[in-house]
Amino acid sequence: MPQPRTDSEGGALRIEIAEGQDVVQVRQRAREKAQAAGFTLTEVTKIVTAASELARNTLEHGGGGWAEVGVVATGVRRGVRMVFHDEGPGIADVDQALRDGFTTGGGLGLGLGGSRRLLSELTIDSVPGRGTTIVAVRWK
């Protein structure tokens, strides 16, 4: 599991994801952090939407887990970094999961691919049978 980098704006608190209400919490945290990092309204909306997608995947496909959302700064760059972790079934074929329209759950199958388009970086680390960790960053 990757260690979150130091959060220059103060701790990337962990949010447990166990039910629908927790996804709302992740969205709120993402909104706060994105605003704190100085993103525009459109960018904030994109970050919040991606957070919603990834948190819901953690809940629905991963069987629950946690998320961390924080502001990051490296040199002159600032951004929002989000980590989602679960110990669910994992993703057998990541490329397939990223493909638009692919779903195993009756959704639109756009969440994962859409999040990658909404953000700057999206790394998926998944081991079938062990779980999934996704690190996502949106740089300004």
């Binding site: 629908g20 969205r27 909306t45 994109k46 939407t49 919603s52 959704g107 639109l108 756009l110 859409g114």
Partner: protein, 288 residues
């Protein structure tokens, strides 16, 4: 073009048809109440409470904006509702029932407004009804908040129930329904929203329904899927559905997500959607 809500028109109706409005409201309340809650309060008492709230609302509307219930001018109304909420809590009313007390004013009040201003600047009427609806939602939510202070545990479920109640379908015009969606559109609530819209389409035989998402902060794939399903179901009922209130940042995000709205009719604002609906019905909306 931005238009403002006309408090004057609302006040005029509240004052000129006060007695009838009061009667209609009490009747609506008795209609929605469960047998249990009806037995908790007598007719004269209920009537007095309704009268008091109408008076307080008129006074506040005369002195303050109707979208700012934190304003000092709303203080007497808030205080009254807080007292009412607490005493009803003690009497055994549920927070939902107390919220319904406020929400049930919508229908009779809107009906009076429609009657008073039919054919006279429909877009203004729509705006007034809309803003007034939001005001009553906020006040109803306030009563549940007061209730909640005393009963932490049951809070969340009841707030959710309240949110469900606060998205009733509004009849904007003969043949035009509108539903303001507020808050998050996750899970069970969406189901309620969709069902009540479909039921109302049948009950009122309306050919057009407007779903306004101005109050929805995030449209993700799940929300989009719910919206698409609602539009499809509306069509199956033989009606047409217009989605309004898609803000620019939401539009951009939807595009990046890859959601295809296909041939769904969308409008930036509710007023635009309303104008289009009137046109589709063959009315010529008064130029506002």
């Amino acid at each position: 073009m931005r238009m403002a809500v006309s408090t004057n028109r609302i006040l005029k109706v509240m004052e000129s048809s006060q007695i009838q409005l009061l009667a209609d409201w009490v009747k609506a309340l008795r209609g929605t109440a469960t047998a249990r809650s009806s037995s908790l309060i007598s007719d004269p008492e209920l009537q007095a409470q309704c009268q008091e709230l109408i008076t307080l609302l008129s006074t506040a509307l005369r002195n303050a904006r109707l979208d700012a219930i934190d304003d000092p001018a709303w203080e007497p109304t808030r205080e009254y509702l807080a007292g009412l909420s607490r005493s009803r809590g003690r009497q055994g009313f549920s927070p939902t029932e107390t919220a319904m007390f406020v929400l049930s004013l919508k229908e009779p009040l809107f009906a009076h407004l429609r009657r008073a201003f039919a054919g006279d600047n429909e877009v203004q009427l729509l705006l007034d009804v809309w803003e007034l609806g939001k005001l009553l939602d906020m006040l109803a939510l306030y009563t549940t908040e007061v209730h909640q202070q005393a009963r932490e545990e049951v809070i969340r479920r009841q707030t959710e129930e309240m949110l469900e109640l606060s998205t009733p379908v509004i009849r904007l015009w003969d043949g035009i329904l509108a539903m303001p969606l507020i808050g998050t559109l996750d899970s069970s609530r969406t189901q309620v929203v969709m069902e009540s819209l479909l039921e109302q389409i049948v009950a009122t035989r309306s050919p057009i329904a407007i779903l306004d998402i101005t109050g929805v902060p995030t449209v993700d794939t799940l929300t989009a899927q719910h919206l698409l399903k609602t539009v499809a179901a509306t069509r199956l009922m033989g009606a047409e559905c217009i989605i309004s209130g898609i803000r620019p940042q939401i539009a951009q995000t939807i595009v990046h997500l890859g959601v295809e709205l296909g041939d769904v009719i969308t409008k930036a604002s509710l007023a635009d959607a309303f104008r289009l609906a009137l046109k589709k019905l063959g009315h010529n909306p008064a130029q506002a």
